[in-house]
Symmetry: D2
Subunit: 447 residues, 4 copies
Amino acid sequence: MKAFRDPVHNLIRFDKDSQIERMILDIIDSKEFQRLRHIRQLGFSFFTYPGAEHTRFAHSLGATHLMKRFIEQIERTKNKHVNVTIDEITDQRALALCAAILHDIGHGPFSHALEKMITVDKVNHEKWSVQIIKGNTEVNQILESYKSGFANEVAEVIERTHNSRAIVKLLSSQLDTDRIDYLLRDSMLTGAGYGTFDLEWLIHVLRIGKVGDHIEVGLDLEKGLNIAEDFVMARYYMYQNVYFHKTTRCAEQFAMKIFARVQQLRASGYFIEMPYELEKLLSAKDLQEVLQLYPYYLGLTDFKVWYYIDKWCNSDDLVLSGLCKQLLGRDLYKEFVTKEGFDSYKSIINLANLYEKEHGIPVEYILLEDDSHSSAYKDNYISSKAKQDEGQEAEATEQIFLFDKSGEAAELSQVSRIINEIRNNKIRFKRVFVPKDFRNLYIKKYG
Amino acid sequence: MKAFRDPVHNLIRFDKDSQIERMILDIIDSKEFQRLRHIRQLGFSFFTYPGAEHTRFAHSLGATHLMKRFIEQIERTKNKHVNVTIDEITDQRALALCAAILHDIGHGPFSHALEKMITVDKVNHEKWSVQIIKGNTEVNQILESYKSGFANEVAEVIERTHNSRAIVKLLSSQLDTDRIDYLLRDSMLTGAGYGTFDLEWLIHVLRIGKVGDHIEVGLDLEKGLNIAEDFVMARYYMYQNVYFHKTTRCAEQFAMKIFARVQQLRASGYFIEMPYELEKLLSAKDLQEVLQLYPYYLGLTDFKVWYYIDKWCNSDDLVLSGLCKQLLGRDLYKEFVTKEGFDSYKSIINLANLYEKEHGIPVEYILLEDDSHSSAYKDNYISSKAKQDEGQEAEATEQIFLFDKSGEAAELSQVSRIINEIRNNKIRFKRVFVPKDFRNLYIKKYG
Amino acid sequence: MKAFRDPVHNLIRFDKDSQIERMILDIIDSKEFQRLRHIRQLGFSFFTYPGAEHTRFAHSLGATHLMKRFIEQIERTKNKHVNVTIDEITDQRALALCAAILHDIGHGPFSHALEKMITVDKVNHEKWSVQIIKGNTEVNQILESYKSGFANEVAEVIERTHNSRAIVKLLSSQLDTDRIDYLLRDSMLTGAGYGTFDLEWLIHVLRIGKVGDHIEVGLDLEKGLNIAEDFVMARYYMYQNVYFHKTTRCAEQFAMKIFARVQQLRASGYFIEMPYELEKLLSAKDLQEVLQLYPYYLGLTDFKVWYYIDKWCNSDDLVLSGLCKQLLGRDLYKEFVTKEGFDSYKSIINLANLYEKEHGIPVEYILLEDDSHSSAYKDNYISSKAKQDEGQEAEATEQIFLFDKSGEAAELSQVSRIINEIRNNKIRFKRVFVPKDFRNLYIKKYG
Amino acid sequence: MKAFRDPVHNLIRFDKDSQIERMILDIIDSKEFQRLRHIRQLGFSFFTYPGAEHTRFAHSLGATHLMKRFIEQIERTKNKHVNVTIDEITDQRALALCAAILHDIGHGPFSHALEKMITVDKVNHEKWSVQIIKGNTEVNQILESYKSGFANEVAEVIERTHNSRAIVKLLSSQLDTDRIDYLLRDSMLTGAGYGTFDLEWLIHVLRIGKVGDHIEVGLDLEKGLNIAEDFVMARYYMYQNVYFHKTTRCAEQFAMKIFARVQQLRASGYFIEMPYELEKLLSAKDLQEVLQLYPYYLGLTDFKVWYYIDKWCNSDDLVLSGLCKQLLGRDLYKEFVTKEGFDSYKSIINLANLYEKEHGIPVEYILLEDDSHSSAYKDNYISSKAKQDEGQEAEATEQIFLFDKSGEAAELSQVSRIINEIRNNKIRFKRVFVPKDFRNLYIKKYG
């Protein structure tokens, strides 16, 4: 029995004598998984919440631990009223656990800031995960030596194309092991109490049932309604306060502008050193090509990118060195609040032009626009894949089901006024961040 | 009121309207303090405890928060029975808070591994702290604009030479704000429950009294004896289990061997790139000279060193690249346990020679010897400075006093059998770590 | 410094050297306050939640502790933008603390079950509190020796007629020290995680401002909106799950039926012994008279009533002894669920008549009807007193205000969609409880 | 699945579909077990710690929950190195769980105060438990309908005479499910943080092994040493601070003196009403006879005794009414501290005689002597039963074993200096409590 200590779950145990859990331990020991120790779970949130230093590594362990607990509970509470075979869940325990431990294997450093830089035609971390699982990697080898074709299956669960719908939804849905772990973990480590809910009760009221022809994982209608609400609310509060915190968003804008400046300068012929892995990735012409460069992608970590941010502090280009110094020293821009809101920001272009002249900083580095949006609970049923245009929130947009004693299913927003209220209302923050002294210029000009 | 969220203390608040706390906030914003965001509190412990990613930055905030609470409690419970003026504590609130926020400002990356590399004549993190506080830094400027000569005073508290003994001991003694915060924090973040004790009760029973001519901070004899024991025991357990965990110690040995190899290779004329700040520091001839290079020291962070570990994975030198790959992939050596214990390890030199021949790895990179020792409670009264030969445990080795109602002081180990038992018994682990396959060779040879 | 240990707040401290806090300690030592040790906070909830044994005594300490913390926070964050003098809060600290410690002094045993029995013309626990404070009691003496007329003032705060509106609302409003303590306490002790919210943050964002001519205590608009929602939701969940739990409600119905039977029997000339204090109280003709009997009321405790329940187990009347045995043994009735809901219950009268004939139990002891309702957030502005017809929820039905930086107030349900959704929707449970074997009869008859 | 919410363990679940757990649920529903709702776990501690209202009912559920978890862990970690069959543990799961749920069924009200009153020749709560299990009770019927002779077996486990030594020790030994639950529970509910230890880790390192011919439950030597120490220390602190708190001890002395006075008065021919159950029990001539009166014993609860304490407040005997009023109002005696300690108290008899003359209170009601002692860790191996003269600490005085990888056992105090230090040192408090004004008399006389 191998035990990891964990601030959220206390002990996360894997049984070395079980073939399946031994495989999980081998995956944890793999080079690709060890890399997740160097990817912060919350990107730039540590600037806002000094405790938010936790990594994708710890989160992946936590999500796998929850997957084990979910499956145990489902085994315990086979719903007698519904003629449902849960074999697809219990027989495929290996699949569920491997998908859980590997679901974030394709996450890159620096949250989404870097992702956008190397994005060729909408490549996201899930595509990278799939590529790493299928590619010539230690992880792939471990999966294939369990069963030929197994890597493919794991990838399908992560892509949400696997035909075992229940396994797919245990990993990514409105109420999955991934988001349960990250809410609890992010809440605890940031120290912002919003993400708490009674995990033990939630697991206690887990049920399976049928919705149409599909087996679905849901909650007991009578005992689970309030914990379902509490859980959706926790997510809503975390977006409102933590994930979309202005300081965090501003830091991410800084990072994106830094990468943009580097590319701009290189395009203009300047020599700006960057991680050679990144250079390689940027050379790819399309999605197909960039994904083939996954060995380089695997060379990227938070520490490598921070090293270059630090190095670029010494650049001759004052815009680049300025942004880097400010990011490293957490000497960020301030939100520029006007009574008219976001749209009025566009009207301060003239002022920004003035500021550009005074300080030699191009307008696009003066006005950092950020438009963050998410949804705490989505209504539309997304078949097996998220839609392209859902942006950041694409990962898991399905519904939460509540089952009554006869096994009949009700969708959460149908039975909860509160959830119905927030289901289609996006959480949205449109902001502009400007240099601290920009405001003075504004006052001088407009009084 | 500026509030930091914190997983340990929930809210850490500083009042922007108070001159003193405004100064603390300015220090936090300084370049030198922001650097602590990139120094892990526990060096390599994250390899053992995935949650142990917390930084010196968060710890320093926590220690300062405790200093505020300690001083408030002391103000509340002026001991009427003893003719003690606590003015030296309350009047010097600014001094106490500044010393608390800055006590780890001189910490370098990679725990003590790197420290040993650049050590010229016993320079340690406290000497760096003093240098940074007195040098041409933002921190120095902030302190001096509060009061001329103030930086010097703060440095004296950290060096334990300041004549306000009470302030010195609030920061570094057997029962100080520094170690209270780190025990609670390390315990929570590692997930190892050993470091817990009832902080609220400990603060509640804080007392001041006189020991000889000195004002001392201690605990109420009647109400504080058990919490004092519990606190010392917490520290004892943390050393036994967390700080001296074999995986953590082995990783630190790896880091030291990597640095040793780099220097060895450079001495032999190979070109091995290293952080230019480190190169600069290594060029110093003595303590005086190296301390003057503090601007370079301030350029060192965890991410910079990890970047080079990653880079050295591609070195032509197989010893260096091997060690680096193993460290990054957490593919470490195993403890070699013999019935005869540590001393018998020396007798396996012959075997190591054999292994060297087979694998081309010099003996000093095959047998990694580690001798960790500390003491949960020291007996001898150390005047104002720790002694040279106390090594790692030098920081604070004084006694805990318990005051009865008449203000008379008793030393903890005199009134507690338990503490008396452990006071002079070093916690000590002597180990040798060897490559995984070394054991096979051993069995082949010795059966 | 006197410290009480508390599972919710850890330490609750009162300073013996402060005149005001010394008064609080004297009140705690008074005979009338010590009686609260024998009144469970949650009546019959211990039948549902084995941990819910906590008393009005502990809750009153907790509410007073919160009152201290609230006032400290208000002192720290005087709102500069509003021309508000908070003197009425800080000068009247004594008043606020005394009202907090005494707000439940008039609570009787057995939750509301007994209250209804001795109710003559709507006397409730607040009227008793006022009577005890003004009467010839130790508590009255302590208050009056602080300041002549002070007992009256304290009573006015509890009655919500005192002209210091802010003090009144700190004790009883939508966001008061009373309900904050009971939500946290009930949640922790029942073990039902619903009532949790981040107390530290809630206190951190407390603000005062003006609404019309009144000083109001509210929260910071920007930082406090989500905690306000979280707090209202916590209350909503506690009502849904804990306070209105069917087992708890059924036990309370049992108690009411037991008291009803005792009175019925006595009215018919049977001699049924009951607590002489209760006998005395029942002899009163009107509100005026019953309140004058407060010394008898003060003789009532949970243990006294349970003693008689136990004694009545031996009654010759089989209805009475049956109900008592069943209550003591927690062998309660079951909820009778029909598809048609509560109203259809009325149609099973015929069946109950049949059951009466078989078992000799009058219909009114076969069908126990319970109609529980509350509201998590009320909309209508209740001037200084609750209205007569609000029943159980009368205590505090005002609004929560959020203040922006300029001091302008917004009412919570105006700025929160979620709260707006639930504000006028009563939480309501209409149930009928029937003997376990009643259902069989139903099936026999209706199939 | 029936779930109890619990403040300590969150959810305590029993599976209705399992025959064994269904039996546990039936026992919980029995009249005899429901009675435990009215027996406080900590007697008079609620006078010292307002939160300490928890009952034997909740503790018994907790101990049973831990028994389930212990057995699960033992099943998971069958020690391969030792040729041990754990069948005696797993096969006898029913026995272990029934013994756990019933181990406190014989506890009477008022802690040990009343026990001493009705003690005829050393009858204690364990003898009552056995009697209730074997007698004509609902509990007996439930056990016997599981298997004929099963009640006897359960009684043997509680008496520690059952030949399945491992089951016996899981319930009562130095490291048993009983004391683990009560330490955690008492610590949480009193709010005194001393009893905390990492339960998850303790369960994780549970091992079984052989000591001589016996199967023993112990801990992993390497991983369990510190948690074993921490656990023993937790118990030590709880005795020092909570169980032997002077206020609690004084209240218990009051209760004993009240019962003594009642008997004294009745012996002198006064009519003093007392619970008829108690009257009946007091009429028994010897152990055999008193145990046969168990139906009367089962009629005793905390509320019944408190009812009489309250009633006796109106007694004509001023000594009795005085003591009762003081106990109910928590207006207790004060500890009389002299420099010479306990023995010198005997020399103040003269003074007490004087006080007796002034106040008409016999000396034995003026000087309340209390001699509390326990041991945090006992050394001598107690075969299957505790010895007669161990008093309060008799329940479980055996050793804690630590097993190395080869299954070899070491006794805790042999490998831990700390435990060795405290193993034979009794925790002992000898005190005398006197009326508050007695001290004045003392000063008047002796200055």
